[in-house]
């Protein structure tokens, strides 16, 4: 690549010219050992990529979403709480608007025309307080960290309780999370209760998974039949057992 420019003495600000004759002249000021040293000073302007990189860095330093944390904190601190639940005798404070925003049942309850519209306290029956607290935590933060452990009995039990609670209060996403948890953690000890749960709360996929599990091997069936949960099932949900029997017969005929 070639470029050419015309330089004029005393006219350009970029360039300083010196006559050759001066260089070679009698004074020989610039000459030393028959050579001339030229010192260059170069200014490099920032390339475009650097600008983009700076912008990216700015974006990267953007704070990450923290809505759920702040609402979680609101729940914990109970600041501005305007309703108290009595769950098995224990008080649990919360905020009407937040609850109503997340659950259609709470919406109807707190912004309808009945008693709860103006009351300070609501009694919750048929639910354990830990379950209720977990429910509220999900309502505020959209997360259920209690369900995050693998394979723990307690976690599975919580998932079962929570499934019921979510169904009762119309929290579809939580229900689904619970269903997944229960689905993956099926074991001989728990399948009977899970089956009853699925049957009662209309989780057809979960139900068929349970049935499949029970009938997977004769050992499974025997083991399950021995559990408490199974006995409970016998007593309260005979229709499920009839279904199970039918499946056995179908399987037998293959």
């Amino acid at each position: 690549m070639t470029a050419s420019s015309m330089f004029y003495e005393n006219k350009s600000l970029d360039v300083s010219l010196i006559r050759r004759s001066d260089l070679e002249g009698s004074r020989r000021r610039y000459e030393r050992d028959d050579s001339i040293l030229v010192l260059c000073s170069i200014n490099v302007l920032e390339p475009r990529d650097a600008v983009a990189a700076a912008a990216a860095a700015a974006v990267a330093s953007m704070p990450s979403p923290d809505l759920h944390q702040q609402f979680g904190e609101l729940l914990r601190s109970q600041k501005g709480a305007d309703i108290t639940f009595l769950v098995a005798g224990e008080p649990v404070a919360a905020h009407r608007s937040v609850l109503a925003a997340r659950s259609p049942v709470f919406m109807a309850e707190f912004f309808g025309n009945m008693k709860e519209k103006a009351s300070l306290c609501v009694e919750i029956n048929d639910m354990e307080v830990e379950v209720f607290r977990t429910l509220l935590y999900f309502i505020y933060t959209d997360t259920a960290p209690e369900l995050d452990q693998e394979g723990e009995q307690a976690t599975l039990m919580m998932a079962q309780h929570l499934l019921e609670a979510a169904d009762r209060y119309g929290l579809e996403r939580l229900k689904r999370i619970c269903v997944e948890k229960v689905y993956t953690d099926i074991s001989v000890d728990t399948v009977a209760t899970t089956l009853a749960l699925a049957e009662q709360h209309g989780c057809s996929e979960l139900k068929s998974r349970c049935m499949k599990f029970i009938l997977a091997t004769p050992e499974n069936l025997q083991a399950v039949a021995a559990t408490e949960g199974y006995k409970h099932l016998e007593a309260s949900c005979p229709s499920v057992l009839t279904e199970l029997l039918k499946l056995i017969m179908v399987k037998g005929n293959k």
């Binding site: 049942v105 309808g112 048929d126 309780h161 119309g170 749960l197 209309g202 949900c237």
Partner: protein
């Protein structure tokens, strides 16, 4: 739990699904709900606990009592609604709708709360079993128990229709109540609204407007009736927007349009003394706009208006062009046509929304009647002639350009454009030669317009005329510059006309006065010196002269006369009295022209330069003429009139037409040859169609003439008939 990595709170019990063992469980639960619903309907909901009621219903569904709950709910709501129905039925007169509205609001509020309580069932049992959701169930029950109950259904409709009728006849009604009532019907479903209200409403409206139209069509003028229809239409629109479903608007408009307008369309438009024709004649813009807007809604409405307008224009146009009175003044004739065109342009612009189809109708009407008079081309040319002579000294403010543009519109309607061209040439020649054109610019502008319309061939000869005059000026200047011994001769200014460009008028040269002869011969010599091989012929029927005259009474005047008049007058320099025969012999001027010339010199009041004996108008051979020594005039310069371009006398008219017909023959032949050359073989009818189409921009060829031309071309072996089919022609290369 061991390994307490996580801090666990109080333990939870293992999960056990709920089991209900109490046989009275359902009845107890239902009782709770039943009582709660009663409180709700009694406006006592604020004491109820939602949490408890919701949980009750939830448990019922959980324990598989969904179907029973649903059944009980339905029964229960029905009961409450039946109570409400009794109240509504009992309401008297005007309170009926109010009571209905009140109960409806109550039911809606109750239904919302019931739905909320039963939300779990709505979400689980109902969708799974494809049952109607609670809220919709409530609406259906309302519809069936109340709105469609025998006692109420008819009364409701009657009440609504009665109120609407009263409003139509001028009363003020409670529109709010109407709105809430119709909204209720809409909420119950669009079929309820349509079946229980809209359809009967439209039927009743149809008979109302049918009656109204019958009543008023006999009594009102068209304009007033249309005002009424317009008012009714906007009233109905407003009514719908105030208290009906917006979709009803279109339907009621259709009803009113049908009953008031469509059913009486012919009668209205053709109404004597007030219908469309009358409105057009009187320029009643407002009425016309209204008619257009209203009949736009009617099928074929605008078509009808358009065709009535068209036949009216054709009729008035026809009487205009065939009225013998009008034909006496061509300029006025054309002005009237322009006025008529302006009138309808305005009407279509203001009232008919510049509707293209109407503009087309206007154009075709004009095209139709303008050509009913075969003098139209001539008259239009005379009109332009008049305008280009007088120029911008118009009575009205319209400038010349605009007028010429409008004239071009009329020109486009002419079928015989070639006839126009002939006349235009004649008139232009007269204008140019007599120096009577007011503005060179306007002449050129007109030429440009004609060129744009008709192409180069139309105007090339006309442009030649302008060039000739310019050249002549230069030549005359050159003549006077070339020699200096012309001082003793009269000054002449010569216009040299190229024969092909100018309308030919055969002329025998008359005997010019000797002074004139001398100088004109010098000019001829000069001209032929520079233009070899040309022939010059003096057109003595044109041209003019300025003569200095001294009369016996001492008055001196300068007379502007025609060439012929000059020849006659100069004779009196040598003779005092001359008879007609003598003048004729001396001047060799053709008799017709000579008589007119003498008449203009002797018989025009105020311009009697000569005296005629006897004073009769007709000129006999022995009549004698002498200079009028008593001649006086206020002006020094006296113009002795030259006959202006008049509309032609009948023989002249015939001659022009014959010439045009002659000119058409070669054009037809050229068209035939062009067509046959490209098609090679063609049948008779197709040739006719093609030829007519090709020549349409210039004139409408006569089929008989086309046939004759074909025969002639066959004779001259340009074409031949097909041996087998006499109707087919073949091109011979």
């Amino acid at each position: 739990m061991m390994n307490g990595q996580k801090k666990r709170g109080p333990k939870i019990e293992p999960f056990r699904h709920k089991v209900e063992t109490d046989p009275k469980f359902f009845d107890k639960s239902w009782r709770k709900l039943h009582d709660a619903i009663r409180e709700i309907y009694n406006h006592n909901a604020s004491g109820l606990s939602f949490e408890e009621l919701y949980r009750t219903a939830y448990n019922m569904v959980l324990h598989k009592f969904g179907p029973k709950l649903y059944e009980k709910l339905t029964e229960n709501m029905k009961e409450h609604l039946e109570e409400m129905r009794t109240c509504v039925e009992a309401a008297q007169g005007g309170l009926f709708l109010e009571e209905l509205e009140r109960k409806w609001n109550d039911h809606n509020k109750a239904l919302t709360m019931i739905r909320d309580i039963l939300m779990y069932m709505d979400r689980t049992y109902i969708p799974t079993n494809k049952k109607t959701p609670v809220f919709d169930l409530g609406l259906e029950l309302w519809r069936d128990t109340i709105v469609r109950s025998p006692m109420i259904q008819g009364r409701l409709l009657d009440t609504l229709l009665e109120l609407i009728h009263r409003e139509r006849t001028g009363e003020v009604i409670n529109r709010c109540l109407m709105r809430t009532t119709t909204k209720m019907l809409m909420n119950l479903g669009s079929s309820v609204y349509q079946d229980d209200f809209e359809r009967p409403f439209l039927e009743v409206s149809a008979s109302f407007y049918s009656g109204e139209s019958q009543q008023f069509i006999d009594r009102y003028s068209c304009g007033d009736y249309l005002k009424l229809a317009e008012r009714r239409l906007s009233e109905e629109s407003e009514r719908v927007s105030q208290y009906m479903d917006v979709k009803t608007n279109e339907k009621i408009t259709a009803v009113v349009v049908k009953e008031m307008l469509a059913n009486h369309m012919q009668r209205l438009i053709l109404m004597e003394n007030s219908g469309l024709v009358n409105m057009l004649i009187e320029d009643r813009y407002e009425d016309l706009t209204r008619m257009y807007t209203l009949f736009n809604h009617v099928l074929d409405g605008l078509t009808t208006i358009r065709s009535v307008m068209m036949s009216h224009i054709k009729d008035t146009g026809k009487s205009l062009v065939t009225d013998p009175e009008r034909l006496k003044d061509p300029v006025d004739f054309v002005q009237r046509l322009l006025n008529e065109k302006d009138k309808y342009d305005n009407i279509i612009n203001v009232s008919f929304n510049n509707d293209k189809s109407f503009l087309n109708a206007l154009n075709s009407s004009f095209e139709h009647f303008i050509n009913l008079n075969n003098r139209s081309p001539e008259f239009i040319s005379l009109f332009v002639d008049d305008k280009l002579r007088k120029g911008v000294k118009e009575a009205n403010e319209e400038d010349l350009e605009t007028v010429l543009d409008k004239v071009m519109m009329l020109f486009r309607y002419l079928q015989e454009k070639d006839l126009f061209e002939k006349y235009y040439k004649q008139h232009l020649a007269k204008r140019l030669l007599s120096g009577k054109t007011a503005s060179d610019e306007s002449e050129r502008s007109m030429l440009v317009k004609l060129k744009t319309e008709c192409g180069y061939q139309f105007t090339s000869k006309l442009e030649g005329m302008f060039t000739d005059l310019k050249t002549s000026q230069d030549t005359t200047q050159g003549f006077y510059a070339s020699t200096s011994d012309l001082a003793d001769y009269p000054t002449i200014s010569v216009q040299i006309l190229t024969t092909g460009s100018w309308p030919t008028q055969p002329c025998n040269t008359c005997n010019l006065p000797p002074e004139i002869v001398a100088v004109s011969e010098k000019f001829r010599a000069y001209y032929l010196g520079t233009h070899n091989g040309r022939r010059l012929t003096w057109q003595t029927n044109m041209g003019n002269a300025d003569i200095k005259a001294t009369f016996g009474n001492g008055s001196k005047h300068e007379l502007t006369v025609s060439t012929y008049q000059m020849c006659v007058l100069m004779l009196f320099n040598t003779s005092d009295v001359l008879t007609y025969r003598e003048i004729e012999q001396s001047t060799a001027i053709p008799a017709v022209d000579l008589k007119r010339c003498l008449q203009s010199l002797a018989l025009v009041k105020g311009k009697q330069v000569l005296r005629k004996e006897p004073m009769s108008r007709d000129i006999a051979d022995d009549d004698s003429f002498c200079v009028n020594d008593k001649f006086t005039s206020k002006l020094f310069k006296v113009k002795i009139g030259t006959v202006l371009a008049q509309k032609e006398t009948d023989p002249e008219k015939l001659e022009t037409r014959q010439r045009v017909e002659e000119d058409r023959k070669p054009q037809i032949e050229a068209a035939i040859v062009r067509i046959m050359k490209s098609r090679r073989v063609l049948d008779h009818n197709s040739i006719m169609t093609e030829v007519t189409k090709q020549l349409q921009p210039r004139f409408l060829p006569n089929p008989v003439v086309i046939k004759k031309r074909i025969e002639s071309l066959i004779e001259r072996e340009f074409l031949e008939r097909d041996k087998t089919d006499r109707k087919m022609y073949r091109y011979l290369a």
